[in-house]
Symmetry: C2
Subunit: 494 residues, 2 copies
């Protein structure tokens, strides 16, 4: 005989989860929905098992859980009852298995979260041919990397498994300090290097350390959108400073925001335009920073790839007043999925940055970092960079000659001394954003330069990555681009 | 003949770096220090090489770099000169190799950074015997983990090497959603799971999403210091709410901060005291949250280890109004050096949290996450948890019997149904913080409970971790603790 109050209870044996869990959730729902009332005596486990066609153990198990969580109570010698401890006014609303469809509701978020709230559904961003900043992945020595990782994980350093290293594995901080001294003339001790999950985290922390709501923060125009977003998320005010042929225009910055205390720059290879900041401008900026408790974020994102001469020295290495916070990343020399970037800070700011980092991220994934240190100190990184420099140089040449041959009517392009992308300036009637949209539809992930500007003086050009695109594919891909440009140009004339 | 202006120039051949770099830095310094004046003609590379006793290539290389960076200029047919482009007023201050000792300087930081600025030098925190929350590391299957990692890294998914997955590898989001449904009755789709670098990052993001400067944020008292720090770092106001035998005291919370919109709770196993929140209290809290655009952070940090009965269900699974943000972590079931935690958020908050996460951390280290997904779906995690549950249960028993036998005069201790630490209440005259300090000197990393309180009603007890301490060592370690307690008690009486 089925008990009336359990009439709507049945077990779906096709459900892949354990039956006791299904029964637990269903009984819980019935109780919370007030379908089975407080104080009701439940049938015996034997009877209920028979009714439902499940084993008695299944019912016992579900009852145990309901008892432990306070839905049922046992009265000695008298069976099992629905708890009378749950106030009636709390029942009838909660049902775990049948949630209502998520209503469009107005949620009050913090100003910071509002600033970042996406306007539409997030569009997944896939890198592809011509993506700027995309390195060649097929030639990375993943075998070596996998072997080193496995080696370090098989017998991990116990200290690296628990909460110790906020700033990163010691071996990696040492390897990076040495690497940066050799390749970028960065002047630091290993404990000034703070290993992070990428340059975005470094940028976030620097802005957070110095920016108060409403503070003006200087950035280059055009510039890296990740910097702008971080400034806005911090509630601060991004001041877009034009870039001239010497780099960041300090005089313009001084008149736009005389009180600004932080400037975010890419002196080695201005992103995305490309010029290298002149020596005079560098010295002026260090002088400006040294004067009045000001700081400079130096974003040194791809200087390892220089095709004429040696990579230029960092601004940090020229700084005698401890005013530069140097940001670097493994995303370009290895790949961004590694999630390793770093920040080099003046000695008296190390503890502050470790505390800021601990707040957002506990500590560092030190075992993998130790493997990376070995990858660097065994010379694998240097070998890979050397190989890639030769490869990327070739790819740039092929891309430029293809662009000039097939798209020369629509754009003009100069060789870049450095980096992984070039800038192709468009004829004024061809809109770069339009080209970007059409190219994207065809899988070409080049970017419109004008979208990187904040101010009204936008240049109309395409940012075309060459590093991660095979030279053999370039004739075909550039052919496709030529068609797109033709379409845009024809559309403009009609 | 030595040129006068290069008299102080010499090469140190014992320096391990390349000689051309040394020469470059030294000449650069001389120019920046105005020792070699603008417009000065430098000796020929052949002459200088002879003078310094280095190869001519070394000098050529240094000159090239100095030329490229704007320190030197070549005049056709007339040799190499120090650049006249550098304004005099910028010279004489910058010297890269001889930095002054870092002066004690006053740096203006943001309010957030000031709030986190350490008061003294950071003391490294090593976990050790009795550390609460420290899992057993010797029995973790590192071989399997290393093998899976190597497998995924040898042939990584291309999308996981570049900027795509902000919320984590798809396979891991699916594996976690399934795991949480099975073990914690969490009710979610995989895309509501956002994989993060640990529970601290989850806490940080939740507070950041809802807290404005000065906003009251409810937290348990005693409670997890990482929550309090994040609230303070956000400029918000932590409201310490007492915990009674049913858990977080909602009535007290309502009167302390009627306008609070976010409560940070650990309902399954209150941290650090241990009680499980009653069903009635859970329903009351969900009702409170549902009423008025309020949210609950559920910190479910160690519920997997339950020694009597099955783990209790999560608050999230009871929530029909999408008011709970569920925080979990792999730090206890694996180890914290893995750096994997996660946040389960209501569907209509997913995009906001992805945007917040992107700002602090770009995207997710997806290759390692895919390996973790396989570790979970192949059943290795469940096997490890099962083994550890048996082991930790035994360790708790040994620890309790040792404590009662050797320290019974000074403290009293009850069995915990759940978790990795127990609470040993001290006789009132023995101060827990004093015991902590003395124990730490002897390598025993237990914690003083009173330090976890914000309000004036502090309980005097020790938090003693048992999970990561070998049962065979416990007699010796507890013996040492007994001596410390005796010392403290004796000291009090005199």
């Amino acid at each position: 005989m089925k008990h009336a109050y359990l009439a709507n209870l049945s077990i779906d044996k096709s459900d892949p989860g354990p039956l006791h869990r299904q029964l637990f959730l269903k009984l819980r729902d019935n109780i919370l929905q007030n379908v089975i009332k407080a104080g009701t005596r439940l049938p015996s486990t034997r009877l209920l098992a028979e009714d439902l066609g499940v084993s008695r153990n299944t019912v016992l198990s579900a009852f145990d859980q309901l008892m432990a969580e306070g839905y049922l109570e046992a009265r000695v010698g008298a069976g099992t009852y629905v708890s009378t401890q749950i106030p009636d006014e709390l029942l009838g609303t909660n049902s775990s298995s049948e949630k209502p469809n998520p209503k469009a509701r107005k949620i009050k978020l913090s100003r910071q979260a509002e600033a970042l709230r996406p306007t539409g559904p997030a569009k997944p961003y896939h890198q592809g041919p011509f993506s700027p900043g995309r390195p060649e992945l097929d030639q990375f020595p993943f075998e070596i990397w996998a072997r080193l990782l496995a080696k370090h994980w098989r017998k991990p350093e116990p200290d690296y498994l628990s909460g110790n290293p906020v700033g990163g594995a010691t071996a990696l901080r040492e390897a990076l300090a040495e690497h940066l001294a050799q390749t970028r003339a960065v002047n630091c001790e290993p404990d000034q290097v703070i290993v992070l999950s990428g340059s975005q985290q470094a940028i976030h922390l620097v802005i957070k350390a110095f920016a108060e709501t409403g503070d003006p923060i200087l950035m280059e125009d055009p510039g890296f959108p990740g910097i702008r977003n971080s400034i806005i998320a911090a509630g601060a005010n991004p001041i877009a400073v034009p870039v001239d042929d010497q780099g960041f225009n300090l005089e313009a910055a001084k008149s736009l925001a005389p009180k600004a205390r932080l400037a975010c720059l890419s002196p080695s290879h201005q992103y995305p335009l490309g010029p290298t900041m002149s020596l005079q401008r560098r010295l002026e900026i260090l002088h400006w920073a040294g004067e009045n408790d000001r700081f400079v974020l130096e974003d040194d994102y791809d200087s390892e790839y220089r095709y004429s001469g040696r990579p230029l020295s960092s601004l940090q290495g020229l700084d005698t007043e401890d005013r530069v916070l140097y940001v670097g990343s493994m995303s370009k020399v290895m790949f961004s999925g590694l999630r390793v970037g770093y920040l080099v800070v003046p000695k008296d700011l190390v503890d502050v940055f470790l505390a800021l980092r601990r707040d957002i991220d506990g500590h560092s994934p030190a075992v993998a970092e130790a493997a990376l240190a070995e990858f660097i100190s065994e010379g694998h990184l240097a070998t890979h960079i050397r190989k890639m420099r030769i490869l990327y140089e070739k790819r740039q040449k092929v891309l430029i000659s293809e662009l000039r041959a097939k798209c020369g009517d629509f754009l003009s392009v100069d060789e870049q001394e450095c980096g992984m992308h070039l800038i192709a300036f468009l004829r004024p009637e061809i809109e770069d954003k339009k080209v970007e949209a059409l190219a994207r539809d065809q899988g070409l992930m080049l970017r419109a330069l004008s979208a990187f500007y904040e101010g009204p003086e936008k240049k109309n050009a395409l940012i075309i990555g060459f590093a991660g695109t095979h030279e053999k594919q370039m004739p075909r891909l550039v052919g496709r681009l030529a068609q797109i440009l033709e379409t845009c140009a024809a559309h403009m004339q009609t």
